[in-house]
């Protein structure tokens, strides 16, 4: 469950990294991002990926870092495939990813 949350965070981070690139942002949202937006996406990407790393390490240092490497690979793959074949989905992911993360955190607190 915790690793699931870390995976989601990792996916979110690479989503932000992708959106910090002009070409990808344009293919998803149709407009050019302002410099401010690009900067914000980049910064949040770094913060979220650090969070994901911390969440992984909180479970076990060795095993967690292995999980983190694997999660990064899967995240890049998913984002790249999504950008190529379903750029529209990327727009919904912008809202879906944070929502899922919140649901996950809440449900892990409740159950």
């Amino acid at each position: 469950m915790i690793y699931g949350l870390a995976m989601l965070l990792c996916l979110g981070a690479f989503y932000a990294f992708a959106m910090a690139k002009t070409a990808h942002y344009k293919s998803v949202f149709g407009t050019r991002p302002s410099q401010e937006q690009t900067k914000r996406f980049n910064l949040s990407g770094w913060i979220i990926i650090l969070l994901s790393f911390i969440v992984n390490l909180s479970q076990a240092i060795g095993y967690g870092s292995l999980m983190f490497c694997g999660q990064m690979a899967l995240s890049v793959l998913l984002i790249a495939v999504c950008l190529t074949y379903k750029p529209n989905w990327m727009r919904s992911l912008f809202y879906l990813l944070p929502l899922l993360a919140v649901i996950m955190v809440v449900s892990s607190q409740v159950f």
Partner: protein, 529 residues
């Protein structure tokens, strides 16, 4: 200077990457499959499918294992008890017998149902996942030493290719998510970059630690200078459990199992046991070896206790408190083999391994395409190009086909066949050879497409074949919560789907390419005019 550095790196990447790329593909492919080594062994052994998860205490299991071996093989020179795990539901009891002077000892493998403690009936002779595991570094049909040296050379080349690749594909991090499937050769480059960069930590780790697994073969010098009797002395020091114990002539009726295990359980009550080995159970040289379970710790070798079987006293322990060097070495091997992984991490490992296969395959294909592009329309393909194309298609499309063949052979060969396990392996290589022969005659796009359809059909029929021969299918697996077996069927169907999409794509491209090549000839004709 910069320009020439860059050019020499490109040269290095091309040649180092390509000289052994087919061997590398085989190693990566077999290695990726061997992440599911025990799962494949389970799939290959339908008699074990219906065994429930173990509910017994490990103490009971060990006692019943010893009792079983004592009645089934009192004369064996070694007993081997493997305890059930989440990956292997059965209790493994094997015994080894001497075959007289100069002959290798022979193992007999038996398995017990951990709940009823009765032998499992209807086992078939199969290598299971061990075949792919051995293929990964022993290459089968080849002298073991030579094969390992070859594999080491290949991984050294891979490491060099990876590092020079990072240098020459300098935009990989900038264009991290870029994949443009419509753009011809550019799409192959994108696939090559994407598959290498997305699992870059994995690729570097797996290649480097792969070399480390055989480091004492590659670089025995430190051990040879430090120990008087060289590597042998080092091994005795490092792996005390692997030391040969000579049999004695004095008979022993009852080894002191109780004293030994009582001592063990009293002093290490929390320790999970992985396996128990008893050497020479019938004479006074008897030794009881207990291997602890590492769980998800990043360690390779197991903690180890050795008890005297005559008195039941503790003789040796190893790795209960490993030194830093042991931790580093064991950690690297553990990370390479992934034995510690739970299903989630295991699948991530698998995905990264597939990414590695795609990286190597796309590299090979790009090379052939580049050479072909440089050809003038009037020039015929050279022998080198033909060879490259043949080997490309034979390895990239042939290996999956051969793997499917191996699985089919497991289900379809009669269970009482002589040397059945070897026949399964034979089917693997025969299918691969047949594909190679086919591709030596046909190498064009249609051959790729045909083999992709062939792969798709064969992988899709595999769950059907399994359902018809084992009386259970995907639905019953899901109903009974047998997730390992269910994921096999789902993975087979996914593989079929991927090959089907590839065939479709090739069909589209074939028609698209016709118009492109028409255009190209027209353009060159105009230029000439």
């Amino acid at each position: 200077m910069k320009e020439s550095f860059f050019r020499s790196m490109t040269w290095l990447h091309t040649w180092v990457g390509l000289l052994l790329c087919w061997l590398l593909f085989l190693i990566f492919f077999a290695g990726t499959i061997s992440f599911f080594r025990h799962e494949i062994s389970l799939w290959n052994q339908p008699a074990v499918h219906n065994i429930d998860h173990n509910k017994q205490q490990q103490q009971t299991l060990i006692e019943s294992g010893l009792a079983y071996l004592n009645s089934a093989a009192p004369e064996a020179n070694r007993w081997w008890i493997g305890l059930p795990s989440s990956r292997q539901p059965e209790l493994q009891v094997s015994h080894r017998h001497s075959q007289g002077e100069g002959k290798r000892d022979k193992w007999h493998d038996e398995r017990l149902d951990p709940n009823t403690l009765l032998p499992i009936e209807g086992l078939v002779d199969t290598k299971g996942g061990n075949f792919f595991y051995r293929l990964h570094f022993d290459l089968h049909y080849m002298d073991r030493k030579l094969a390992r040296w070859l594999v080491c050379f290949a991984s050294l080349f891979m490491l060099i290719a990876l590092i020079s690749g990072i240098v020459i594909h300098k935009r990989i991090f900038k264009d991290l998510f870029q994949f443009r499937p419509q753009k011809g050769v550019r799409a192959w480059l994108d696939a090559h970059n994407l598959s290498s960069v997305l699992a870059l930590p994995f690729h570097l780790m797996i290649t480097y630690t792969g070399l480390i697994t055989l480091i004492f073969m590659l670089f025995p010098n430190p051990a040879e200078t430090l120990y008087e009797d060289g590597l042998k002395g080092f091994r005795a020091d490092f792996y005390p459990e692997r030391q040969r114990i000579e049999a004695s002539n004095k008979k022993l009726d009852e080894p002191a199992f109780e004293a030994a295990f009582t001592h063990f359980y009293q002093n290490w009550p929390e320790q999970k046991i992985k396996r128990v080995i008893v050497d020479h159970p019938s004479n006074t040289a008897v030794n009881i070896k207990i291997y602890g379970d590492n769980g998800t710790l990043i360690r390779d070798e197991y903690p180890y206790w050795q008890y005297s079987g005559t008195t039941g006293e503790l003789l040796k322990t190893a790795r209960l408190d490993p030194s830093n060097a042991e931790m580093l070495y064991g950690g690297m091997i553990a990370v390479h083999s992934g034995r510690l992984a739970h299903p989630g991490l295991r699948w991530l490992y698998f995905i990264c391994g597939i990414a590695g296969c795609v990286m190597i395959a796309s590299g090979c294909i790009m090379w052939a395409k580049r050479i072909k592009e440089r050809l003038k329309p009037t020039q015929t393909a050279s022998f080198g190009l033909k060879l490259v194309e043949t080997l490309n298609i034979a390895t990239i499309m042939g290996l999956p086909l051969a793997t499917a063949g191996f699985f089919y052979a497991n289900r379809l060969l009669p269970p009482d066949m002589v040397a059945r396990a070897d026949k399964e392996v034979l089917v693997f290589f025969v299918v691969w050879l047949a594909t190679t022969l086919f591709t030596s005659l046909f190498r064009d796009k249609r051959a790729w497409q045909w083999l992709a359809y062939c792969n798709a059909a064969i992988w899709l029929l595999l769950p059907v074949c399994s359902a018809l021969t084992t009386h259970s299918n995907l639905l019953t697996y899901i109903q009974d919560g047998k997730w390992i077996l269910a994921s096999f069927d789902l993975a087979f169907i996914t593989t079929a789907l991927v090959f089907y999409l590839q065939a479709k794509k090739l069909a589209n491209k074939a028609t698209a390419n016709k118009s492109v090549s028409n255009k190209r000839t027209r353009v060159t004709a105009e230029q000439r005019a």
